[in-house]
Amino acid sequence: MSDAKASTDDKVLIIPCSGIGKAFGSVGREAAYMVMEELRPDETDTVCLSLLTLGDEDGQRRVREHKTITIDGCPQACARINVEQAGGTPAATFRVFDVFRAHKELRVRQVSDIGENGRQLAKILAEEIAAKVDALRKGEN
């Protein structure tokens, strides 16, 4: 169960990797939206990763001031690295592959349509992230 509606300043930023060429990037983005729209809509927010890549001052300030969770779709770890380069320290990092490794029956093939397997994988990941959001908001690491 999520806490009461959080103030803007208390929100945990969920930053997926913006992956466009790999199916796991799409799964990571879907998981992020599940958390932000369904599971913890009042406790979470996001920043366009492309803003951080560009060096946008407002985007950089937000990742420095908020607790941040990154989600990466491939080993290049663009979300984590871009947040770190922006001066932030991710409070937690998730990799889609780690979830897949525990659920190898959920193969995802297409970037633009992750299908039922992809949605299931995203849901499992989203629930892990939501639990982490709760822990972070309680002051746990």
């Binding site: 492309s50 803003l51 290049q76 663009c78």
Partner: protein
Amino acid sequence: MPDLPKKKVGLIACSGEELPEGTISRMATLKVLEQLRPEDTVTLCLPLFLAGEERERAFARFYPTIAIDGCAKRCAAQATAKYSAPPAASLVVTELIAENGLPQPHGVRRLDAAGERVAQAVADLLAHEVDRLLGKPSSPIVAGDGAQPVAAEAGTMAVATCSCGSGIPVAKITVNSHQVEVLALPAIFDQFREQGKLPTDDTADELMAAVKIYNRVAADEEAALHEAVLREYAAYVSTSN
């Protein structure tokens, strides 16, 4: 010619997660990559310019690129120019909506009907821009007129893939005491060695001809680069034997 990736158009979408227009940039790009121009386009995740290595940053110097941005911040165009090379063309979804009287999109996770329509219009424009950059014939367009999909071969599914890890090989060599990046040089050296070419003056001329396919070489820099490429090739051959 060395065995390098085919010259295609690189599509760099901002994929902005906060705005419907960011989702449109990604969906339109995927439509072009998967359906409209699968043989003529490649992509790279925008954040990889910063997170990646030299071969990722060489992307826009090898491929003519189109930046597809969701909003006026133009992250894709600016980041591509900052880390790689200025895009050959750029497109901003919010401007396209305003200029063409398209409906206002809603939804970041799932686009509404208006968003789907705008995504199709952006994809159509992109497909025509790809044709233009590759010098292919393309009919005049109106946003949303519906570019024709290219049929995939029987039994195959067109799948978009990014170019990370399979990018352009780059070598850094010293020219006039400066470090210079030369695209494709490792592949060119491999090919010349396999052909048994020795590091002679004649070979140097051939090497430079290959180098100039993939790199812009200013006239006043050519002699120094010629000398440096031959020197590097001699070193490469001696360590390879």
